[in-house]
Amino acid sequence: MDSTQAFSQQALIDQLVQHHAGEAGSLLPLLHDIQDELGFIPASSVASIAEGLNLSRAEVHGVITYYHHFRSTAPGKHVIQVCRAEACQSCGSEELWALAEKLLGCKAHENSANGMYSLEPVYCLGLCASSPAVQIGDKLHARVNEAKFTRLVQALESAA
């Protein structure tokens, strides 16, 4: 990241902090906004968030690291979430998970070496009657067997 990028990133964070300052319980909404804009919450932003919301840096860091949804590093181009909860397990999600690790070339919470993918376990997408469920970016997919998962990944590869 060059200095211009870093500057605009910081400007954006400052703007969002200002937007949420004074709102009751504003830390989570602010962190969501930052992650929605940048894809992650840079460690460098902790100090300005803490100052803006009158919290300690430890409190901000504590919240970011407590919640599974928040990430401190940039994700791959496509975030692939595979549900590993019981309803999906009952229809083969563990086999699907193993296939995902192989096809994407990364393990849980990792990015693939080429930066294309992040693989995340998720515990329930609410599609339990149409399991196994997978989410790629914003798009949900139901009844994903191994063949369907392979097709979905191939589509991402060929679009790249």
């Binding site: 504003s26 919301l53 599974h68 928040f70 397990q89 009952s90 329930c124 009657a129 149409s130 997919h141």
Partner: protein, 518 residues
């Protein structure tokens, strides 16, 4: 003449390809010069049939499904806009046995109306409960709720009216109504369907709660895994406010009620009410010790009504039709209906709203049609990841809170996850401990440490030579977790673990005598 076609916008329908079906219908209709009006309705909850497309005919709505976009041209070839026969035609929607056998009170509009249409909501019985409540004293509203016997649908089954009465009786400058929409249990989706499919029902229930207890601010805490629900609720709140159902003067009552959506961030334990309050306040989702009860000192330290989505969504019909009407459904102290959610390895997964008192066997076979794989059903987890595995010998016990508690199980939020004979119950028991270790907030030791020790002990039952001692150790650990944990996360993880051990000892490599000896 323009013909109305309905395609659900529920995220489970979209995940099954509903958007692609809509594109294909538009394309095909345009190519054939046919005038159609495609309405995106909510889902009927018959998920094995999604995308389920309906056509409005003189006889009623005729259903087709499950459709793939490739099927669309053949539907037009068969003149489906007139409700004609096609291999995927299911006949009149209301006559589909899965639906016809249900008692839909809370889910009466589901699959019928467009989620954010105020006209549709009002035309199908919406706001009647709120109008009645506005005309009543707060005490009378609370009494109606008490009389209905409505108990918390989130899992704990605490009488909703008692919470409301406590908050109403407490004096404070600011009170809150918080809706727990952190539906993290695997196998449950009734909250999601409600928020995506009938958001005004939830809003109406929350406004009634606010007026009854004197709260002017409400929060809906929705899990981040439900982006469609978040977006639908936000749209519905804005529209309801502009129509006067929310805001500074609810329906001219002189009382204010404002509603906000709070997006969660992927922590299962934040479904526990006090952890949820911490999260809304912007903190780590650590469970609070009780007392003080949230009804006295809840959100931001103020008196707070906390109810689950389905609890609040059940309020409008109670206020519209009266406590006696609602109480007529159900058995014993389990009054009313519960939207059961059948999922996992089952042929016909979906939502079944029925009065309490039916059996698991009816749900599994009369509705569910048996396993999806065709293999025999081995175990059924009822009530989410913290619920017990129920073996076949208990499938005829009526589903009500007391009957399930008596056999060491829970009805919970009504989620039912089916496993066929390939399931390894020792592995699922280990998973329960692993899930607890991943999701524990870490505040109390039995949950934080016990879950990890539990995984290790279950591993050792599989590998060690002194299996009997390991089983004894596991039971002792479960006893500590059950009785020593601060909340249900650690306190109920033993339910799936012990039920698996008790009913399926062979999966742990144990003879039945060893599993139950200690």
């Amino acid at each position: 003449m323009t013909i109305t076609v309905f395609v659900p916008c529920d995220s489970a329908a979209i995940a099954a390809g509903a958007d692609e079906v809509v594109d294909a219908i538009h394309k095909e209709a345009a190519a054939r010069g046919l005038a159609i009006d495609v309405q995106r309705n909510s889902s009927r909850g018959l998920f094995w049939l999604e995308p389920l497309v309906e056509v409005l005919t003189a006889q009623g709505r005729v259903a087709y499904g499950p459709l793939a976009f490739e099927d669309v041209p053949s539907l037009f070839d068969a003149n489906f806009l007139l409700g004609t026969k096609h291999p995927l035609c299911l006949g009149l929607t209301d006559a589909i046995p899965y639906l016809a056998k249900q008692q839909r009170l809370t889910f009466a509009r589901m699959g019928v109306t467009r989620p954010t249409s105020l006209d549709d909501y009002a035309a199908h019985g919406g706001w009647v409960g709120l109008k009645n409540a506005v005309a009543m004293q707060g005490d009378a509203v609370v009494q109606t709720l008490l009389d209905s016997g409505l108990r918390g649908r989130g899992g704990a089954a605490f009488p909703a009216g008692i919470k409301w009465r406590t908050v109403r009786a407490t004096t404070a400058a600011q009170k809150y109504v918080v809706c727990n929409a952190d539906e993290g249990d695997s196998g449950t989706f009734s909250d999601r369907m409600t928020m995506e499919g009938d958001p005004y029902m939830l809003i109406e229930g929350m406004v009634i709660a606010g007026l009854a207890v004197g709260a002017t601010q409400g929060y809906i805490y929705i899990r981040s895994e439900y982006p469609h629900a978040i977006s639908t609720m936000n749209t519905a709140i804005a529209l309801a406010e502009s129509a006067g159902y929310l805001g500074s003067n609810v329906l001219g009552s002189g009382q204010a009620f404002y509603l906000h959506v709070r997006k969660a961030a992927g922590s299962y334990v934040c479904g526990e009410e006090t952890a949820m309050l911490e999260s809304i306040e912007g903190k780590r989702g650590l469970v609070r010790a009780k007392p003080p009860l949230p009804a006295l000192e809840g959100l931001f330290g103020q008196p707070t009504v906390i109810n689950n989505v389905i609890t609040l969504a059940s309020v409008p019909i109670i206020m519209a039709k009266g406590a006696a009407f609602y109480k007529d459904f159900g058995v014993g102290r389990s009054t009313g209906t519960l939207p059961f959610q059948i999922s996992g390895n089952v042929l016909q997964g979906g939502l079944v709203e029925r009065a309490f008192g039916l059996t698991l066997r009816e749900l599994l076979f009369d509705f569910g049609g048996g396993s999806r794989s065709g293999s025999p059903i081995k175990a059924v987890q009822v009530g989410g990841p913290l619920g017990a595995y129920v073996p076949e010998s208990q499938w005829d016990v009526p589903l009500d809170y007391e009957a399930y508690a008596a056999m060491g199980a829970v009805v919970g939020h009504g989620g039912i996850v089916v496993h066929d004979e390939r399931a390894n119950m020792a592995k699922l028991a280990r998973y329960a401990m692993e899930f607890c270790a991943i999701e524990s907030c870490g505040k109390c030791t039995p949950c934080r440490i016990g879950s990890t020790r539990g995984m290790e002990t279950i591993d050792r039952i599989g590998t060690a030579s002194n299996k009997e001692q390991q089983v004894h150790l596991l039971r002792d650990l479960c006893d500590t977790m059950l009785n020593g944990s601060l909340c249900a996360m650690g306190g109920m993880t033993p339910y799936p673990v012990l039920s698996a051990l008790n009913h399926y000892p062979a999966d742990f490599g144990l003879a039945p005598a060893v599993a139950t000896a200690t």
